[in-house]
């Protein structure tokens, strides 16, 4: 009985002696999540001195007095990510984990737009991808609306609003029918980005030529060559004139100048003259 009582007393004494030393070892408490750039604090318990390490996308080291609260000022921790807080000292080894989340306000966009040059009237021909960043270049992972706008030279616009998924929003849009410079804008909150896309005319749509005599030659001239949306086809596009006469064939390749192609060919009675550019065949002229 005495022995049992003695054992109990010993256990109680041990517990009383051990309890303060366990408390003295120190611990830390930190919020599970803090916003990038905002001030926050880490509370510690125990007594004595220790070193606090914050390790993650940023690394900080602080000499701390256990039992006091460690204050981290605004802007001090601003890189979003997962962090470990470790308290290390003589007999102290406490750890905690927390997340630094991106700030809520978009500040800049990574805008990938393609292509930089394309033909008019291309369905889903223009693509844009946006990644939304906060003021510390952290990717904002919460869903956010992103507006895309494609402003055509005529003033007409296509617009889409897309919600980000893990910071990314994408869109595909049609090129306009008028050739010229198109402005491709993306915006989210106050963050905006602009790209310029050059829309060039498409392939020639139709080809019509006329002929007039000039001595022993024929002068051939096309009407202004346009694409199917009425845009003038760029100068330098080749038009091929072909003359068939008595089983013989002669061809002349002429680049467009100021929208038209002009050529001279020998004037043979009964000759058949045609013109073509790309996959488009023009009218035929029979010379009499």
């Amino acid at each position: 009985m005495r022995r049992a009582l003695f054992s109990v007393v010993c256990l109680v004494v041990l517990a009383v002696v051990a309890l303060p030393s366990a408390q003295d070892r120190g611990s830390l408490a930190v919020s599970k999540s803090v916003e990038a750039g905002k001030p926050f604090s880490i509370s510690t318990s125990g007594s004595g001195k220790a070193v606090l390490y914050l390790v993650g996308p940023q690394v900080l080291r602080r000499e701390v007095e256990l039992g006091k609260t460690v204050e981290l000022s605004a802007g001090e921790v601003h890189r979003a990510g997962h962090y470990v807080a470790a308290l290390v000292g003589s007999g102290v080894n406490a750890k905690g984990e927390f997340d630094v989340t991106p700030a809520r306000q978009p500040a800049s966009l990574i805008f990938l737009a393609k292509p930089s040059r394309l033909a008019v009237g291309q369905r889903q021909g223009i693509s844009g991808v946006v990644f939304v960043l906060d003021g510390f270049k952290n990717l904002i992972l919460e869903p956010l609306p992103v507006s895309f706008e494609l402003v055509a030279p005529s003033g007409g616009a296509q617009a889409r609003s897309v919600t980000t998924n893990y910071g990314v929003a994408w869109v595909k849009m049609d090129s306009a029918t008028r050739a010229g410079t198109v402005q491709f804008d993306a915006s989210s909150g106050s963050a905006t980005a602009k790209r310029v896309i050059q829309q060039v005319p498409g392939e020639p749509c139709r080809l019509k030529m006329s002929a007039r005599p000039m001595g022993e030659r024929i002068v051939l001239q096309t009407e202004p060559v346009r694409d199917c949306n009425g845009n003038p086809v760029p100068d330098g596009t080749i038009v091929t004139f072909t003359e068939n006469y008595g089983g013989r064939m002669a061809t002349v390749d002429v680049p467009l100048k100021r929208g038209v192609a002009q050529a001279e060919m020998p004037a043979y009675q009964g000759a058949v003259i045609s013109a073509a550019t790309g996959v488009v065949l023009g009218n035929e002229i029979r010379w009499h």
């Binding site: 997962h82 470990v84 292509p115 693509s127 296509q158």
Partner: protein, 194 residues
């Protein structure tokens, strides 16, 4: 003479066996050091089909970027980031290394497992987004010989863009617990006019 030759042969065999054993052990050790990788290939979101070869090279380059990041942070060497990181990811990691150098701290990252999902492949193939649940060890080594090791499990989002020879990591960021790691849903245009 014959006896000496047979002794030499036996010695050579022992040496070869010993070398082979060491090689085997070294290979096992290096295999044990490699992270386990699981890739969920279902439902890549985006307007573009992801070819198997592209997927394999993206994952290979991403995993190598983790190894490279671990070494760069563990040895405080910014130059080790050059091959695998670009843009914001590279700038931030370089800043982290500078901070470590200033504090005379080295923080080693050893990835143990990756559970990967390709979340988005952009039109024109200009970017790819990965979601990754990573298990990794963080080892803090201070100049005063303090040493802390912690095994962590965190979810990451990575954005990679193609470069001349490989896919480079442009963004690598942990996803906070507060934001679920839900199945990436196809985007929906909530408003449109033409």
């Amino acid at each position: 003479m014959a006896l000496r030759r047979s002794k030499t042969a036996a010695s050579l065999a022992r040496t070869s066996l010993s070398v082979a054993c060491w090689l085997f052990v070294a290979l096992l050790a290096s295999a044990a050091d490699l992270p386990t990788v699981h890739v969920d290939t279902a439902n890549v979101v985006g307007p573009r089909q992801l070819e198997k070869q592209t997927q394999a090279s993206v994952i290979r380059d991403y995993l190598e970027s983790w190894q490279s990041m671990g070494r760069a942070l563990g040895e405080n060497r910014i130059d080790l980031l050059d091959r695998f990181f670009v843009g914001a990811a590279k700038e931030k990691l370089a800043d982290t290394i500078r901070e470590q150098q200033k504090l005379d701290i080295k923080v080693g990252y050893h990835d143990r497992s990756h559970n990967l999902k390709i979340a988005f492949y952009s039109p024109e193939g200009l970017s790819i987004q990965l979601l990754d649940t990573v298990e990794y060890d963080v080892e803090i080594v201070d100049a005063d010989n303090s040493h802390v090791t912690e095994r962590l499990r965190s979810r990451y989002v990575a954005l990679l863009t193609p470069a001349e020879r490989r896919w480079e990591v442009r963004i690598l960021q942990a996803v906070p617990d507060s934001l679920g790691f839900a199945e990436p849903a196809a985007q929906q245009a909530v408003k449109g006019r033409q």
